[in-house]
């Protein structure tokens, strides 16, 4: 086991800035290994920002800056000796809009392993089959691996993206509203898949859909917005962690009135 026991990722006093602007302030939470943790909250509360700070995806945005500690298996991910490329391999990501590469299904899944230097056709074949099976897409595409990934339906594309992510054998999968562009049936398939994947992977999911959080997640973090009027007419807004608890607990007996109003759907 890792030195932090059941915690895969620990955030401690994390602030995220975009340029001079504070986006998220003082987030501390522990994400448990092989559990699904959901981030919920109103638009603009910074839940995606926090998610993207976990695998250093924010580095790609010019001017983005993270303060505080993001610890993965005891290692601070923002320590100078850590290479973000390695972080992103071990902490994979699935995005809001299915974004397969404009290549064949096979090449989509084999992309990550090829980046790592795997050249053997036999090994690649095995990884592709294993990953597609892992994403429950194999039976639908096995006869047609040369077909373009873009030719699949939206739900299949999203599962292809999941297969692509698990092909590099990450330990954590971050999902940024993975079902918001999918219809209910495709959503169901992805949710079912998450419940299977969680036996092997730690999953963090951002969702706008409270029912989804309730259906799939073990833990839920509720983010909310703080406002401050700097000068009249100009408002500073940033996100904070409102409440973090086991999902059943958070939805049945929320600690704060704000959480309760949000999960009852009074604002969003």
């Amino acid at each position: 086991m890792t030195q932090n026991g059941a915690y895969a990722i620990q955030l401690k006093n994390v602030d995220v800035f975009y340029g001079p602007k504070l986006a998220v302030s003082d987030v501390s939470l522990n994400i448990q290994t092989r559990r699904i943790t959901a981030f919920i909250g109103p638009s603009g509360c910074g839940k995606s920002t926090v998610l993207r700070s976990i695998n250093r995806m924010n580095d790609l945005i010019p001017g983005a800056r993270v303060q505080g500690d993001v610890t993965f298996q005891g290692q601070n991910l923002y320590a100078p000796e850590v290479d973000p490329v390695e972080v992103r391999r071990r902490i994979g990501m699935v995005f809001q809009k299915p974004n397969p590469f404009p290549k064949s299904i096979y090449d989509n899944v084999a992309y990550g392993p090829r980046l790592l230097g795997v050249r053997s056709k036999a090994v690649l074949d095995e990884i592709v089959e294993k990953s597609l099976k892992g994403a429950y897409l194999w039976d639908e595409v096995r006869s047609d691996l040369k077909k373009s990934g873009l030719a699949l339906s939206g739900g299949q594309q999203q599962r292809l993206c999941i297969a692509r992510t698990i092909a590099v054998e990450p330990e954590v999968i971050l999902m940024d509203e993975p079902c918001s562009a999918l219809d209910p049936i495709a959503t169901q398939a992805v949710e079912d898949l998450m419940k299977i994947l969680v036996k092997q992977y730690t999953i963090v999911i951002v969702t706008h859909n409270m029912q989804q959080a309730q259906r799939v997640s073990d833990f839920t973090a509720f983010f909310s917005i703080r406002k401050q009027e700097e000068t009249p007419g100009k408002e500073n807004r940033w996100g904070v962690l409102g409440e973090f608890a086991e999902t059943t607990e958070l939805f049945s007996s929320p600690n704060s009135e704000e959480t309760e109003r949000y999960i009852r759907g009074e604002f969003g």
């Binding site: 010019p62 974004n99 590469f101 290549k103 992309y111 990550g112 992510t165």
Partner: protein, 453 residues
């Protein structure tokens, strides 16, 4: 409450609405007519251009032979004759000029000493009867001179000598296509006039653009002149241009789009690249002359294909950079994120995802820039492309001429025959441009298809 009342007052209804609608529709139809008129003007301009060129490139011409081909060989076709028969014709009709043919086609020494040195020296390395080696050209008999020509020259060279020197087709008066179609009676009258001076004169319909025109080298005789030298020169120059401008331009675009942080310096650079794209081409010619032809002469060896190619490369570099930047910017960031998300480095992401997705746009931009370079005349004149040259370019360090230069030079001549072949050369240039643009379209479609599977 008051909402319904105020709405009825604020927005027109009934007859007022109908009137307003008619006015709105009228305004739309006026604009629509203006747009179609604009298109009509553009189409008319294009048609006028094409007609003007075709008008000059085809039509009747009054021509005359020095010697009728039928007098040389039955049927008048010298193409079927072998080397010996051709030499016999040369000997029969141009006996005194045989030494000149030897000098122009075979001599390896300076023309001023050609007649004074023995053949072993003046024709060193050529094949000729060995027993003649000690003699000078002027000591040979006519038969021996003919033997030297027959031994060394190819059938093609001999045939073109016969065509130019013996048959000697002369264009007395070319006519435009419009004249040929509508003023036939005047042409016939002029033919009768011409027959008084030149009993061999005859009228023939000529396409100045023909296979011989494409394959013949430049010549001061318009009937024999062709565009081969200029066409090869243009292709060589464009090859160098693209070889230089494509990698450098795409590289700069990748840097600006993917690596450069948006600070003031980089913004300044980007703005100036955009300005450079609008600098008149003659200024690039001056740059090429000062830097490539003069200062870097030890590399480029002066007014060569290399200098011209690099000058045109500099000219289209900003265009390629801007087009490539736009193509790279159009690649959705979701593809970049997906690549980074599975642990790709920045370079792996650029090489494997961004560049392939941007390639259709980059290629289209490059080929369009290339088309611009093909037609450029001013910078080539400034750096000193040869205006008259008959030897094909064989390396980047060769002297050269190019199609637009050749066209410019031909149109500047007073004789009307040259205007006709200039029009033919313009057609060659236009076809070349069309080929480039068609390639751009095909490449783009191919890439797009391979991306979407």
């Amino acid at each position: 409450m008051s909402a319904s009342v105020s709405q009825a007052n604020l927005l027109p209804t009934g007859a007022e609405f109908q009137k307003g609608l008619a006015r709105r529709n009228f305004r739309g139809s006026v604009w629509g007519r203006f747009y179609s008129l604009s298109l009509l003007v553009a189409i008319l301009a294009l048609i006028a251009l094409v007609l003007n060129i075709v008008n000059s490139a085809f039509g009747y011409a009054i021509t005359a032979y020095e010697v009728e081909p039928t007098a040389l060989v039955a049927g008048g076709d010298v193409g079927g004759l072998d080397a010996e028969q051709l030499v016999v014709i040369l000997q029969d009709y141009q006996e005194r000029r045989l030494p000149v043919y030897i000098r122009d086609n075979l001599s390896v020494v300076d023309p001023s000493i050609f007649t004074q040195v023995p053949l072993s020296e003046s024709l060193a390395g050529r094949t000729f009867p060995a027993e003649l080696a000690a003699m000078t050209v002027t000591e040979l008999t006519r038969d021996q001179q003919a033997a030297v020509l027959a031994a060394s020259l190819s059938v093609d060279t001999l045939r073109s000598l016969v065509e130019v020197e013996v048959i000697g087709e002369q264009v007395i008066h070319p006519y435009a296509l419009s004249e040929s179609l509508f003023e036939r009676s005047r042409i016939d009258a002029e033919l009768l006039e011409a027959l008084e001076d030149e009993p061999n004169a005859r009228l023939e319909f000529r396409s100045w653009l023909n296979f011989e025109f494409l394959t013949a080298a430049g010549s001061s005789d318009p009937a024999a002149a062709g565009v081969r030298t200029a066409l090869l020169g243009t292709l060589w120059v464009i090859f160098i241009t693209v070889l230089f401008a494509f990698p450098v331009g795409v590289g700069a675009a990748i840097y600006l789009e993917e690596y450069a942080v948006p600070n003031r310096l980089n913004k300044l650079i980007e703005t100036n690249i955009r300005n450079l794209a609008g600098v008149p081409s003659i200024i690039y010619g001056l740059l090429g002359l000062a830097v490539l032809v003069r200062s870097l002469e030890f590399i480029t060896q002066g007014r060569t294909i290399l200098s011209a190619g690099l000058t045109l490369g500099l000219l289209i570099l900003p265009v390629i950079i801007i087009n490539s930047q736009e193509a790279i910017r159009a690649v959705p960031s979701s593809i970049r994120e997906a690549s980074f998300g599975v642990g790709a480095t920045k370079w792996q992401t650029i090489w494997n995802q961004v560049l392939p997705a941007a390639m259709p746009g980059i290629l289209t931009g490059t080929i369009l820039a290339m088309s611009r370079a093909v037609g450029e005349t001013a910078p080539l004149i400034v750096i000193g492309a040869s205006t008259f040259i008959v030897t094909d370019p064989t390396s980047p360090f060769a002297k050269f001429t190019a199609l637009p230069i050749q066209i410019y030079q031909w149109t500047a001549r007073p004789q009307s025959e040259f205007r006709a072949i200039a029009a033919a050369a313009i057609i060659v240039l236009l076809v070349l441009l069309l080929l480039f643009n068609a390639t751009a379209i095909i490449l783009r479609q191919r890439y797009r298809k391979s991306l979407q599977g």
